[in-house]
């Protein structure tokens, strides 16, 4: 049956990048979570969830987003989380970590000079952090490739 995988990202470019990684979990029991219901078409025929978005700029929305994400985690019970950001992906990894869920943070390709704010914190929460830019790799942050 493969692993239970939650692929999660905010909207816009974060989600478009996540969808370019789909072959990584083909054959596993994947669920997809994002913010825009209309993007379901891109996710294919897999369980699809939406949550209320949050970012650093509107941090006061964290409780609502965290509640939605907690519900998704209870439904999916993921063994592995893959996220392309942003803050909601970090929240998912943090909430699931006490239950032994491992997580991969793929920092957005938009962060070509410094790791994103959430990406810098992802090192404290996620099992592995990767950057899409070779020149940003250092020790724990690895470069495995890019979506383009």
């Amino acid at each position: 049956m493969g692993k239970r995988v939650l692929a999660i990202a905010s909207g816009g470019g974060h989600f478009i990048q996540l969808m370019r990684l789909q072959p990584a979990w083909a054959g596993h029991q994947v669920s997809v979570a994002t913010v825009d219901p209309s993007t379901r078409t891109l996710a294919g025929d897999v369980p699809f969830y939406t949550f209320r978005d949050v970012s650093r700029a509107d941090w006061w929305r964290i409780p609502a987003a965290a509640l939605d994400i907690a519900r998704i985690l209870l439904a999916v019970r993921p063994q592995v989380i893959i996220t392309t950001g942003a803050l909601p992906g970090l929240i998912a990894a943090a909430l699931a970590r006490p239950f032994g869920t491992k997580s991969l943070w793929v920092d957005s390709i938009a962060n070509s000079e410094v790791l994103s704010g959430s990406g810098a914190q992802a090192g404290l929460v996620c099992s592995q952090v990767v950057t899409q830019w070779p020149h940003l790799a250092d020790g724990k942050v690895e470069h495995w490739g890019s979506v383009l």
Binding site: Q17, R20, A110
Partner: protein, 166 residues
Amino acid sequence: MNGVFVSVGSMMPFDRLTRAMDEWAAQNPHIPVEIQIGRGDYEPRHARWVRKLPLSDYQARVEACALFVAHCGMGSIISAIEAGKPILMLPRLAAQGEHNTDHQLATAKHVGTRPGLHVAADADDLKARASALLADAAHDAAGAPAPISRFADPAFTARIRAFIES
């Protein structure tokens, strides 16, 4: 629609881009222009506009247009490359309150140099380049990106698969 499709992105307003392309639409009344204005305050008076399209409609617009004009966001860039459409971009600037950081300038520098991607310095440059690129497109000479696979490099996704399965 074979005119110009414009998208400012969904997260934050970007009225500088909306206003510039609305002015361009006023100067080019024979060319259809549609702008997805997101959360902006400025509502176009000359171009057609919409707040936000469902993703499938957005992708259809990118595929159908002659020129795609957007902020310098990765969703827009990847959509343009996947569709093989020339994209003209105006980076959001933190100093103008258009984003939290200047990472779109970094994207312009590191990604915007790919074939078929074009970066404008400011609103006037954007309007001039839109006219030039559209003239090129009419003669089939536009610098369009080579369309790519829907998926990332297999070596990258294989590495992520190994992480999932380990």
